[in-house]
Each structure stands twice: as structure tokens, then as C-alpha cells.
Amino acid sequence: MGPLSRYDVNVLLYRLKKDAAFRDRFRRDPMDALRAAELSDDERDALVRWNPRRLNELGGSLHLLLSIPDLGAH
């Protein structure tokens, strides 16, 4: 199964699902919202460009990617 080391990406995806204020901030200025996050360049780029398929390839949880309000990947 997938790698276990994608903690930071999935913490961000979880927060995007559950924290409306953070989600609004992310939608307004993703670079700023992610500033403090420990991410690889690849992960940061996939988040900023909101590329769910790439995020999933990088270990992002499918169920989170499918269900973030207004950003869901369906």
C-alpha cells in the first residue's frame, strides 16, 4: 500500500475539509496558507495548483480528496 510518510499533505487535506476558515484562506492565497507547512516542492505545487490526482499520487487520501467542500475531486 501507499507510503506512510505523507503526514503533512494529509493533515492539510484534513484541515481543508474540516476547517472552513482555513479553506477560505487557502482559496484566497494558497501560497500564504501553506507557508508554515513542511512540504516537498512537488507537494506544495500540487496543492497550490489544486491538482487532486497528483496529490493522490503523492499519498494524499482519496477520501479526503473526494470530499473537501467546493474542492472535491469528483
Binding site: 500500500m1 493533515v11 475539509k17 482519496l62 473526494l66 472535491g72 475531486a73
Partner: protein
Amino acid sequence: MGRIVYAAAMSHVLHPPYYEKNVGPHGKRMVEELIAVVRDMGRELAARRPDALVVIADDHLNVFSFDAVPAMCVRIGRSVSRMAQEGAIEFDRALDGLAERYPLHEDLANRILEEGLEAGFDFAASWSAPLDHAFLSPLTVLHGDRAMTPLVPFWVNCFVAPLPSARRCFAAGQHIARVVADGPWNVGVIATGGLSHFPELSLARVGESDPEFDRRVVGWMERGDHASLTALTTKELHATGSHELLNWMVLLGAVAPARARVRFFGEMGRIDLAALAWDH
């Protein structure tokens, strides 16, 4: 002496709009047929007058975050709430309009937890975890207008690797059956989820199922071939999108050596739907 008076497993997004949006009219029709079957099963459950209902299901990263994901978790306490998700989309919509709180069977939950730890099952315990669609969608269809049976929610980690093995889930079910047998209650056991969907949890493969695999595992359940079922590896479950069969493995351990009766089996394409019951 307590008894398992009803046992069944079923798919858990019993929400026609979800399938209408993602599959189309035939998906909506198929889940409506399944819902009618589950309603009938609910009447059979009610006729057995259970004192408690153990419900084995998974979390979709709604309840447990990546900070801690228990392999198996027993919900204890007196009542449990419905998960709240503002701006809910997709399968979380199945929770819309449902009641806010549900009763728990505190004594049975405590026994499963405490005797589990004594027996070597390191179950996690939660006093606060809410229930998402994996529990509440089938439970509300099963109960219809009847009052909710006091619940013992039991989570299995089906999605965040590493997963518990099928064999270990089966053993946990055997433990639940022993606790029920030693207690005074009539107990129903429900497992939810599946069949195959979301192979490899890959977004690129959403929309695929594995009907051949599903027919094979359902056939094993009909024949009571629990050796073949518990030999399934988490790698096989992941490859076919059958992660949620781990919930069913717990139920299989609780009812073994009973054989399943297939009440519904439908190949939809995106997911295969099913409802099975065990005479016990």
C-alpha cells in the same frame, strides 16, 4: 446466556442522489432496489428484538485524523452523535437530515473493550467519536420509523496503511461472539461497506470495480469458506478496492461457521452493491 439474534452485512452509501450523480439512472435504480431489501432486513432485525446492535464499520478520515488512526476502536459512553460536516458533499450527504444523537449500549461496549484487552486485543476506546455515513446510512434504513437499537459502534481501520489483517479482524469477531455468549443480551451484529470500489485508493481509478473478485468472495461467504476469506491479504484487498471487507471479516468471525444468504448483489460498475444475512 446471550445470543447473536441477527447478523447481516451491507453496502453503506444508501443514498440514491450520490449514485444518480456519479453513475446515472441505473446506479440510482440499483441502490433503490438495495434500500428496499435493507428495509426488509430491518423488519427481520426488529422481529428478533435485539437489546443491542454491534455495528462494524470504517472511518473515512472523518472521525480519526492522521494524528492517530486506531486499527480497531470501540465507542464507549452513553450516546453518540452524528458527524457534522458543513458544506458536505458526495457520500457525506447521506447524513443530511438524520437525527443528531443515538443511544449506546454502554455495558456491552465496555465488556467488548475490557475483555478484549484481557484477551490480547489492543482495542482503542473512544468516548467522543461521532458516526459518519458508514454507520448511519444503513442504520437509519434498517430502523425506518422504529427507535434506534442501543449501539456498540466498532471501527476498523480500512484505509490508512498499515491495515489490520483479515485474520485479525476475524479473530476480533470471534471475541465479540464470546462476549455476547457470556452476557445476558440478545445482540444483532451488522457490518457495512463494500463491495469492490476505489481500487488502490487511486483517484485515477475511481469508477472501477472488480465484479469477478466480488463474486468469488460472496461465493466463499455462501459456502462458509472462512479459510479462503481470512487468507485474503491486505495487498489483495487494496488492489481490488475491497478494503471495507475488513469490517465484514469481523462479522464473519462473530457468526462462523454460519453460511451467508445473499439478499442482494448488484454489479454497478463504479461499485458492486450487496446485502447478505447469516442465520445464526
